[in-house]
Amino acid sequence: MKRLANLPTGILLFILLFVIIFPFAGLPLYFTHTIILIFIWGAVTTAWSYMGRFWMISLCHGAWVGIAAYITVLLFNFYHLSPWVGMWLGLLAVAIAAGVIGYACFRFGLVGHYFAVTTLVVTELVALVIIAFRDITEGRLGITVKPLGTAPLYFQFESKVPFYFMALGLLLLSLYIWRKIDQSKMQKALTAIEEDEVAAASIGINVVRNKTTVAVVSAVIAGMGGVVYAQYIMYLNPVTTIAIGASLAYVFMAIVGGMFTLWGPLIGAIIITGLQEYIRITFGTVLMGWAWVGYGFIIVVMIIFLPKGLYGTLIETLHKRRMQKAARESATP
């Protein structure tokens, strides 16, 4: 597993250089826009996979994204509180909410499908609450951030470049935490818990604390994604950012890319965001809705035939081939 994360340093440096130069290359703004979205969704999906890889399937990451984003935006719109300050309150709220819900679920042993369904309810609940308080949140119509032009102190920029680098930074942070968790004792504890919760408890692993911790970390990073998204798009909608569709998108991205590897979720985000944008641009007005059917079909096929995701399967195949080659070489001296 560790080996899989180590892309050759040369390639990594090249990618990094490319990524830094990209926004200045004079390409159409649309490309930069798509890449910013990929960075944000990549960060959130990677955060989702902190839990997903241990088979804690959360269907409420849309809620974490939404809670942080809404609190930040509402504090700004109503009290003119800078999002730089407001976001911490939003993230705190997310941490508390994820902590309470995580603790409640894990304390009473909700695992597998039961956990997934519970989180699904949380997502819908948050979306409905936001819709219900439409005097404040503008309900289903969605809320717009009061525009100030370029105001760095208020997290508003007319150029895409600052958002590009903020989203990139968030993505790197999210990947870094994935690595940190992977190398920590917590990873081993969570693996044991995933294999057999009772056995894990009987060798002295604090099941509830390990699971709750990872759930909170995952939720907070997702919340950060929400804040950057809200400030970038300047518009939030409870149905498209929180409700089930949005929450499931992260699951799909992780599944498509492969949730058991460092780069998998990001690659999933690239594929799905790219696919969505492509389908939307090419067929958007001609075959309204059919794009989603195709999208759903691809997901079903992926889950059945490539459960480890595109990247995960690719890496596994390469690894197997290398092992076979090594075996053959050692067999014929």
């Binding site: 057999d196 056995a199 894990a200 692993i205 099941v207």
Partner: protein, 234 residues
């Protein structure tokens, strides 16, 4: 060492354990026997903190331990070999053992524990890089016991260590338990294999429908007419 006083426990509204009082003295082996559904496994679940008792008290080394969480119980020095072993089947033998010494206290002595385990279970040393799921039934149970010992317990509890295993393997496992006993561990065993278990016991309890129905030292127990007739078949 372990002292249970008037303990009761429920699954939901259903009362499964009634007024259980049981003692395990230091270095002693206590066996609890009884038929299916008597509450033997539940008794161990309560002691290991997986199920909270509804009444009574549990003391370990004069410290009250009922209501503590499972990881705290392990840290205090009570470990269970769960029924069927409950290994981590996709981890290697070595990783299973490593997982066994998870608590801070036992991690400090990991190297030493591992040496001890490998010298008393040479087969595990030979198989250390094998996936646990690929072991045979007897080896798995052996690994489960070894994993439990890695947490450096004072009291080891065995939950039906013989269930689902071939008679020959069962004999070997009981030999193993005997060896563990001779190393000075206190042992609480629940068993359906009455005849074999009684041989190891210093003290034995008979359990039925959630109550302790009879207890005594090994001789009393074997001599009791009821037990003779119902469980030993003589």
């Amino acid at each position: 060492m372990l002292k249970i006083e008037g303990m009761g426990a429920n699954y939901g509204a259903f009362k499964v354990l009634h007024d259980i009082s049981l003692d395990v003295a230091d270095g002693e082996t206590v066996v609890t026997v009884g038929p299916n559904g008597a509450g033997k496994t539940t008794l161990l679940r309560v002691i290991s903190g997986l199920l909270k008792p509804t009444s009574g008290a549990i003391y370990f080394d004069n410290q009250r331990v009922d209501g503590k969480e499972p990881y705290e119980i392990v840290d205090i020095g009570i470990s269970v070999v769960p029924e069927g072993g409950r290994l981590f089947p996709r981890l290697t033998v070595y990783d299973n053992l490593k997982a066994g010494s998870y608590t801070k206290r036992s991690r400090r002595e990991f190297k030493q524990s591992l040496d001890e385990i490998f010298s008393s279970f040479p087969i595990l040393k030979a198989r250390q890089s094998q996936i646990a799921g690929s072991l045979s039934g007897g080896e798995r149970q052996m690994l489960a016991i070894a994993r439990t010992l890695m947490s450096r317990p004072k009291l080891v509890m065995f939950d039906e260590v013989s269930s689902g295993l071939a008679p020959k393997v069962v004999t070997n496992l009981f030999e193993l338990v005997k060896r563990i006993k001779s190393q000075g561990y206190s042992i609480l065993m629940v068993e359906q294999n009455v005849r074999k278990a009684i041989e190891l016991a210093d003290h034995a309890y008979l359990m039925g429908s959630g109550r302790l129905q009879f207890h005594g030292n090994k001789e009393d127990f074997i001599q009791s007419p009821h037990i003779k007739k119902a469980y030993l078949g003589i």
